[in-house]
């Protein structure tokens, strides 16, 4: 890489290497996956014996551990959200299905708001970078 380009990379990289930006990325992945889990739950709301899915709680634990340990930016790559059956959900129906439609719809709305919030964070990070480059806000 030419020296001039290398210098520019050093200026731009820090924006993408902040904890917040990387966290937002990981949480966006998790939110997209959670939406698919909710889609699965609602699709199977009437399937006998179906147990509701959820993003595995281990993901949040790992995320927190890595942020508090520092150097999140370099260890975040290996962390992927996965799905698991919700062990806390109890069935109140004779067919053993643990999906409650109202609960899923609430979770879906909550997740959509979270997703909006995270896209906003990523957007603002990029806008700051553009402001630094051009010296003016985008219209």
């Amino acid at each position: 890489m030419a020296p001039a380009l290398l210098n520019r990379a050093r200026v731009i990289d820090p924006i993408f290497q902040t904890d917040n930006y990387q966290l937002a990325r990981k949480l966006l992945d998790a939110a997209a996956l959670r939406h698919e889990a909710i889609a699965t739950n609602i699709a199977n709301a009437e399937t006998p014996g179906f147990r509701r899915l959820e993003v595995a709680p281990d993901f949040a634990v790992q995320l927190k551990a890595r942020v508090t340990a520092g150097d999140f930016v370099h260890t975040a790559g290996a962390l992927h959200p996965v799905l698991a059956e919700d062990p806390t959900a109890r069935s109140i129906r004779p067919d053993g299905n643990t999906v409650e439609l109202e609960r899923e719809l609430l979770a879906m709305n909550r997740n959509a708001v979270e997703y909006d919030y995270l896209t906003e964070i990523v957007s603002n990070n990029l806008k700051q970078l553009k402001l630094a480059i051009t010296g003016r806000t985008l219209t």
Partner: protein, 145 residues
């Protein structure tokens, strides 16, 4: 191997699509049951038998990194309801037996109405999922704007 997108732009739309079509089939079956509530003569002989739909899960996609996989839903079976139909005394009916009894279909209109409402509510819930997924995709496209 054919290249395929690992992730849809609109999250979960493949799952919801299956559920929508399964619930549509259920509505069709309800319509068929209600339409045939008085049918005493069928191709197989005897009165119409109520059809019942059962759903089963269908693997859609495994999640990278393990854990549970995403499951859609499909129609598992459309089976006959084996409950015996009600016998009505109606000697004028062309299908009446020698002692004037007619075996009516085992369709109970109240059950069908309940099924109808459940199926259409399930359909609506799945539509809400697509709507929300679409808004999320639009938000993702607005990143950096």
């Amino acid at each position: 191997m054919l290249f395929s997108f690992p992730v849809n732009l609109i999250a979960g739309i493949d799952i919801t699509a299956g559920a929508l079509s399964a619930n549509k089939t259920r509505l069709d079956i309800v319509a068929q049951n209600i339409a045939n509530a008085q049918t005493t003569r069928t191709i197989g002989g005897g009165p119409y038998q109520r059809q019942v739909v059962s759903f089963e899960t269908e693997l859609i996609r495994r999640v990278a990194g393990g854990g549970s996989s995403l499951q859609g839903v499909k129609i598992g079976a459309i089976a006959n309801d084996r409950t015996p139909g009600q016998q009505v005394y109606n000697p004028q009916h062309p299908d009446a037996t020698a002692d004037g009894l007619v075996t009516m279909p085992n369709v109970n209109l109240s059950y069908e109405m309940v099924d109808l409402i459940t199926a259409s509510r399930a359909y609506e819930a799945n539509l809400a999922v697509v709507k929300s997924a679409r808004q999320m995709a639009m938000k993702a496209l607005e990143i950096g704007r």
